[in-house]
C-alpha cells in the first residue's frame, strides 16, 4: 500500500454477489478471514488466497486480495508454487473437506512433509455441497444425512490425525459460528512459522441435517435445571492443554496428546490449537541451506534479462564443464 492507512474489514470485501445458501457455515469463515486480514493489517497487494473447488472455494472471490480459485483438491500445490516463487507473499489456502481430504489427499499429506510457511483452512461440513450433498471424507460411518440414499458406508478420516501424521507443524480446529475464536486461530495459523492446518467445523444447512448448528450448539441436550443448551464444542484454552513442542524430547508426548484430544467427538468436541512445533525447519529454510540467497533473491524476484532482453544467466561455467577443447 502506498499510504499507510488503516485497513478495515470492508477493505477486504468485494462487490461480488455471494451465492452461498442462507445460514451456510462458509459465511463465518469468510467473515473471520476478512477480520483477521484487517486485524493483522496485511497488505492486500501482498496477500494471496488460494482455494480448491466447491462452495468453500468461492471464498476467494469475496475477499479483496489476490484470489486464486484453482482445481478440485489442488489448492496446496498451487499455493506452494506461489509461496516458493515469492516467499515474501502472505499465502493462505482454503478448501472443502472433500477437496482436501478426498481428491486432494496426496497433497494434504505432502504439504506436511514440506512444511512451507502458510496456513491451510479446511471448511469441514461432512458433505459435498455443490454436487448436492454426497458424503465427504469426514462424514462418519453409518451417518445418514437427508441427501444420502443410505447410511454412509465409509469410515471418516480424522483431519487432525492425518495432519499430524503428515508432519504439519501447527494443527488447530475451530467452529465457524464462533467467529471471534476462529479469527484468533486463523491469526495464530498465519503467524506460525511453518505449515499450519486449521480444520473448521461448519454446518451445511442444506445437506447435512445431522451436524447442524443446533447439534454443535447442543440444542438437543439442555441443562435440566436451567434449560440452557449444553454446547458440544468447547475450547481447549483454559483447560490446561499445552500444545507447544518446546524441545525435541517432548515431541512424542505432544503428538500423542494431540491425537488423544483429536479423537474426542460426540458429546465433547474440542476446538483450539492441538499442536504447535516450530523446531522443524520450514521448507524455505531448507531451501536456503542450498541456495544461500533464496529469501533475498527468490525465483520471482530474480532478474532474468537486461533492458535489451539479454539473458541474465551466464552459462560459461556450465558450458565449460561440457567442453571438449
Amino acid at each position: 500500500m502506498a499510504s499507510r492507512q488503516v485497513l478495515k474489514v470492508a477493505d477486504f470485501q468485494t462487490e461480488v454477489h455471494n451465492d452461498w445458501c442462507p445460514g451456510c457455515g462458509d459465511f463465518g469463515i469468510l467473515r473471520a478471514i476478512q477480520m483477521t486480514l484487517a486485524e493483522m493489517q496485511l497488505d492486500p497487494s501482498n496477500t494471496a488466497i488460494v482455494s480448491g473447488i466447491g462452495c468453500s472455494a468461492k471464498t476467494i472471490h469475496y475477499v479483496k486480495t489476490y484470489g486464486v480459485h484453482t482445481l478440485h483438491g489442488r489448492p496446496l500445490p498451487f499455493a506452494t508454487g506461489i509461496k516458493l516463487a515469492n516467499p515474501g507473499l502472505e499465502v493462505l489456502a482454503v478448501g472443502g473437506d472433500g477437496d482436501g481430504l478426498g481428491i486432494g489427499a496426496a497433497h494434504f499429506v505432502n504439504a506436511g512433509r514440506r512444511n512451507v510457511d502458510m496456513l491451510y483452512v479446511i471448511h469441514d461440513n461432512g458433505v459435498y455441497g455443490l454436487t448436492k450433498g454426497q458424503a465427504s471424507p469426514t462424514l462418519r460411518l453409518g451417518v445418514k444425512t437427508k441427501s444420502l440414499p443410505a447410511p454412509n458406508v465409509n469410515e471418516a478420516v480424522n483431519p487432525l490425525w492425518l495432519a499430524l501424521a503428515a508432519g504439519a507443524t501447527w494443527v488447530g480446529r475451530a467452529y465457524s459460528y464462533d467467529v471471534k475464536h476462529l479469527v484468533s486461530l486463523i491469526r495464530q495459523g498465519i503467524e506460525h512459522k511453518g505449515y499450519a492446518f486449521l480444520d473448521v467445523l461448519q454446518p451445511c444447512p442444506t445437506y447435512n441435517n445431522i451436524n447442524t448448528k443446533e447439534w454443535y450448539g447442543g440444542e438437543d441436550r439442555r441443562d435440566p435445571d436451567q434449560g440452557r443448551p449444553l454446547p458440544r464444542v468447547y475450547k481447549l484454552d483454559g483447560t490446561g492443554y499445552d500444545p507447544v513442542v518446546k524441545s525435541w524430547e517432548h515431541i512424542d508426548e505432544k503428538i500423542a496428546q494431540a491425537m488423544m484430544k483429536g479423537r474426542e467427538w460426540g458429546d465433547k468436541i474440542p476446538i483450539g490449537v492441538f499442536y504447535k512445533n516450530e523446531l522443524v525447519p520450514t521448507y524455505e529454510k531448507r531451501v536456503s541451506s542450498r541456495i544461500p540467497n533464496y529469501l533475498a533473491m527468490p525465483p520471482a524476484k530474480q532478474p532474468i534479462a537486461d533492458s535489451e532482453g539479454r539473458p541474465a544467466a551466464d552459462l560459461t561455467r556450465l558450458l565449460r564443464a561440457l567442453a571438449v577443447n
Binding site: A79, N86, A106
Partner: protein
C-alpha cells in the same frame, strides 16, 4: 594383405549388463574421440531395470558432424556374453568384435535375459550354419565372414591390476572391465591412448586415485592389443578442431541449458524416465552465475546481490508438479515442469486451468513409447496428438518440437518467451532418443538468445484504473501482473470469468473470453517468424519431399546425404511449430512435390494426419516405426531410396532394433 584404411568413420558399440558401467565407458570413448577433434554421436539403449538387463551405447565417430546412428557396426566391444549374442550379427564383415575368451563356452540358454523370441532367432541362425549354441560358435560364424576377433582376457588384466595396486578382492575393481573394453577398442583402432587417459581423468575427476588406477589398467588393455591388428581397416586419428569451440552433451542437457538461459527459475517434477535427467541436471547446477549487470536498472533489480538460482521441487505427483509450476508462474517466476507420457496424463487439468487463466506455463514433454507405461525407456513420437488435444474443452496452447540438440537448446529458451508473450501454455516436445543421445557440437552462442516477457507489468499500477487481469484488447493479450505487484489485485478461476477474473456464466461474456483466448494463437501465428515454424532442407524443387518432425531429423538428414551421393535428391520439410499449425508455409513447401513422404516414429502417422487436417494434403507415402528404437539413417535411407525409385508401398514400417 592390408585393405585400404577407413579412417575416422566408425560405428562402435559397447554393451553389458545394466549397472556394469556401460554409460561411463561410452562417455570415456566419446570424450576420448572428441578430445581428438572428432565428432561423435551416441545413442543409448537400456531396459526399465536397475541391474542385470542388457544396455548398450552406440557411438559413431567421424571427421564431420554426425546426426544419427546406423545399423552396421565396425567395432563391437563386449565384456559379457549377452552383448556379443545380441550384436555380433550386426558387425560388418570387415569389422571386429572384442570379447572375453573366458566366455567362449557360454551357451545361449545360459543367458536368461535374452528374450525367447531372440533366442529362437539366434538358434535358427546357428543351426543354419551347422554350429552349436555357444558364444564361441556365434563368434566363429562372425569370423567365417571375415570379422576380426579380438580376445581381451579381462580376468587376467583385473588380476594384474589388483596385484599391482594391492587390491585384495577382484570384485572391488571388476567394473574396470568397461575401461579395458574402451582401451582395447582404442588399441585396435590405433588411436592415441593419452586422449583416453584424459577422458578417464575427466569422468573420474572427483576421485583422482580411482582415475589413476583406471588409467593404468586401461593402458594395460590398450598395450595388449595395440599393434597386433594392423590389418584391421578401421582407424581413428586425431584431427584439428578448425578453430571451433566444441561441447559434448546430451539432448536433456541441451534442453536444460536452454531453459536456464531462457530465465527458468522454478522447475517442478515427479520422477519419470526419461524426463528426470533434465530436472536432475538442473538441480545439480541450481546455483547459476549471472552476468555482470549491464545497465543500472538491472543493478537495481539485484544482479549485484550474488548468484542466481533455480528452485527445483520434486513433487508428490505430476498433478502437483503442473499446478505448483502454475502457482510459481502466477507469482512472476519463469516456471516449467518436465515429464513423459504417463506423467503428462496427470497434467491435463492443470493445462486446462493454465489455458483459461492465461498463465505462461512451460511443459517439456519427453515422449517415450506408450500407451500406458508402454516401454518406459524406449523411444517413440507418440504424443503429438495427445499434446494437441490434452485437456477438455478448447484451450489454446503453443506446441513446438525440437529436432536436434541445438534446436532443443534454443527452443528451451524460446518456449518461455512464447509462454509470456502469448500468456498461454507452451508444450515443448522432445523425446527419449533426443534426451538420451549425446553428441559433439559447436558451443552454443548465448548471444543469440533474447528474453521477451511480453506484456508483463513492471512499473506501478497504483493510481491508474482498476486493474483487470483479463481486460479485453485487440490482440487478445491483456497486461499481466504477477501476484504481489502493487495495485494489481486480480482473481483467477478455472470457471469462465469476467475481466477481473470473477466467475461468470453470462453467454455474451463467455463468447468474448473464448474468442480472446483463441485470438492469442492467431497473433502467435502472425508474429512467429517462418524460420521458427519450419525448416526446409535439400532441394526445394525435388519431386520427393520428406515431411517429419522432432528427432527423426538427424536420421533423415544423414539418409539424404547418403542418397545424394547416389544421385537421389530429396527435399525435407521439418515441422517445428505444431500449434498454431503453419498451414500456409507447409502447403507452399509441399505444393510442387509429387511424392510427400511422411516419416515419423509412431503407429498412427500422427503428423501425417495433422497435415491432411490442416492443409488437405494427403502424404503419398508413410515411413513409420514404433518398435521403441529410434530410426537409423541406414534403414531410413533404404526406405527413402525405394520411394524415390518408385518401388515403395504406400506404407513402410521400419523394424531395425536391438
Amino acid at each position: 594383405m592390408n585393405q585400404p584404411k577407413k579412417v575416422n568413420d566408425l560405428a562402435w558399440i559397447v554393451g553389458g549388463a545394466q549397472g556394469s558401467g556401460v554409460d561411463s565407458s561410452a562417455t570415456v570413448f566419446a570424450r576420448g574421440c572428441a578430445y581428438g577433434g572428432l565428432h561423435v554421436y551416441g545413442k543409448r539403449e537400456y531396459y526399465s531395470n536397475i541391474m542385470g538387463e542388457h544396455s548398450y551405447f552406440q557411438v559413431r565417430a567421424s571427421a564431420r558432424r554426425i546426426r544419427s546412428h546406423v545399423d552396421t557396426l565396425h567395432l563391437l566391444a563386449t565384456f559379457d556374453a549377452e552383448t556379443a549374442f545380441r550384436h555380433a550379427r550386426n558387425v560388418a564383415d570387415d569389422g571386429a568384435i572384442l570379447y572375453d575368451p573366458n566366455l567362449a563356452q557360454t551357451k545361449l540358454e545360459d543367458v536368461p535375459t535374452i528374450e525367447a523370441r531372440l533366442r529362437t532367432d539366434l538358434t535358427t541362425y546357428l543351426v543354419a550354419r551347422g554350429l552349436g549354441f555357444t558364444l564361441g560358435d556365434l563368434l566363429k560364424s562372425a569370423a567365417d565372414r571375415g570379422v576380426t576377433l579380438v580376445p581381451v582376457p579381462y580376468t587376467q588384466l583385473l588380476t594384474e591390476v589388483a596385484d599391482e595396486n594391492h587390491v585384495d578382492q577382484l570384485s572391488k575393481i571388476s567394473r574396470m572391465v568397461n575401461m579395458f573394453a574402451v582401451a582395447a577398442s582404442f588399441g585396435v583402432l590405433g588411436y592415441d591412448f593419452e586422449l583416453m587417459a584424459r577422458a578417464v581423468r575427466e569422468v573420474f575427476r572427483a576421485k583422482a586415485e580411482v582415475a589413476e588406477m583406471n588409467v593404468r589398467g586401461a593402458r594395460k588393455a590398450h598395450d595388449l592389443v595395440a599393434g597386433k591388428y594392423d590389418a584391421f581397416p578401421y582407424r581413428l586419428e586425431p584431427i584439428d578442431f578448425g578453430g571451433e569451440r566444441r561441447v559434448l552433451m546430451t539432448g536433456a542437457q541441451a534442453t536444460a541449458l536452454g531453459k536456464v538461459l531462457g530465465g527458468l527459475r522454478v522447475q517442478t517434477y515427479y520422477p519419470i524416465t526419461p524426463a528426470s535427467d533434465e530436472s536432475e541436471y538442473i538441480e545439480a547446477n541450481q546455483l547459476i552465475d549471472l552476468r555482470e549487470p549491464s545497465d543500472p536498472a538491472e543493478e537495481e533489480a539485484g544482479v549485484a546481490q550474488g548468484s542466481g538460482s533455480i528452485l527445483v521441487v520434486q513433487t508428490e505427483d505430476e498433478i502437483s508438479a503442473v499446478t505448483m509450476a502454475i502457482g510459481a508462474a502466477l507469482a512472476g517466476a519463469r516456471s516449467a515442469t518436465c515429464t513423459s507420457g504417463p506423467g503428462f496424463c496427470l497434467m491435463m487439468e492443470g493445462i486446462g486451468w493454465a489455458g483459461i487463466n492465461e498463465v505462461p506455463l512451460v511443459i517439456t514433454l519427453y515422449q517415450r513409447a506408450g500407451p500406458s507405461t508402454g516401454m518406459p525407456t524406449r523411444h517413440e513420437q507418440g504424443d503429438l496428438r495427445f499434446a494437441l488435444h490434452a485437456g477438455h474443452g478448447d484451450s489454446p496452447r503453443i506446441i513446438l518440437a525440437s529436432g536436434d540438440f541445438e534446436e532443443a537448446f534454443h527452443d528451451g529458451a524460446r518456449a518461455f518467451n512464447w509462454a509470456e508473450r502469448y500468456q498461454t501454455t507452451v508444450i515443448h516436445l522432445v523425446d527419449k532418443a533426443l534426451a538420451n543421445s549425446n553428441g559433439t557440437m559447436p558451443v552454443f552462442d548465448p548471444d543469440r538468445v533474447r528474453i521477451d516477457r511480453g506484456e508483463l507489468i513492471t512499473d506501478g499500477w497504483s493510481g491508474r484504473d482498476t486493474y483487470k487481469r483479463f481486460a479485453f484488447t485487440e490482440s487478445g493479450v491483456s497486461p499481466r501482473a504477477a501476484i504481489g505487484h502493487p495495485g494489481t489485485i486480480f482473481w483467477n478461476t478455472g470457471d469462465e470469468h469476467d475481466e477481473l477474473g470473477h466467475i461468470t456464466e453470462d453467454p455474451v461474456l463467455r463468447n468474448l473470453m473464448m474468442e480472446k483466448r483463441e485470438k492469442k494463437l492467431e497473433l502467435a501465428d502472425r508474429e512467429i517468424p517462418e524460420a521458427e515454424k519450419l525448416n526446409f532442407f535439400g532441394d526445394r524443387t525435388a519431386e520427393t519431399v520428406v515431411v517429419s518432425w522432432g528427432s527423426t531429423k538427424g536420421a533423415i538428414l544423414d539418409a539424404m546425404d547418403a542418397l545424394e551421393r547416389e544421385g537421389i535428391k530429396l527435399g525435407f520439410l521439418q515441422i517445428r511449430l505444431v500449434s498454431p499449425f503453419p498451414a500456409e508455409p507447409v502447403m507452399r513447401a509441399l505444393a510442387r512435390a509429387k511424392a510427400v513422404v511422411n516419416v515419423e516414429m509412431n503407429f498412427g502417422a500422427q503428423m501425417g494426419g495433422l497435415i491432411r487436417e490442416k492443409t488437405g494434403i494427403e502424404p503419398t507415402h508413410r515411413i513409420l516405426k514404433y518398435n521403441g528404437r529410434p530410426m537409423s539413417s541406414t534403414e531410413l535411407a533404404a526406405a527413402l531410396r525405394a520411394v524415390a525409385k518408385g518401388k515403395a508401398p504406400r506404407k513402410q514400417v521400419l523394424t531395425y532394433g536391438v
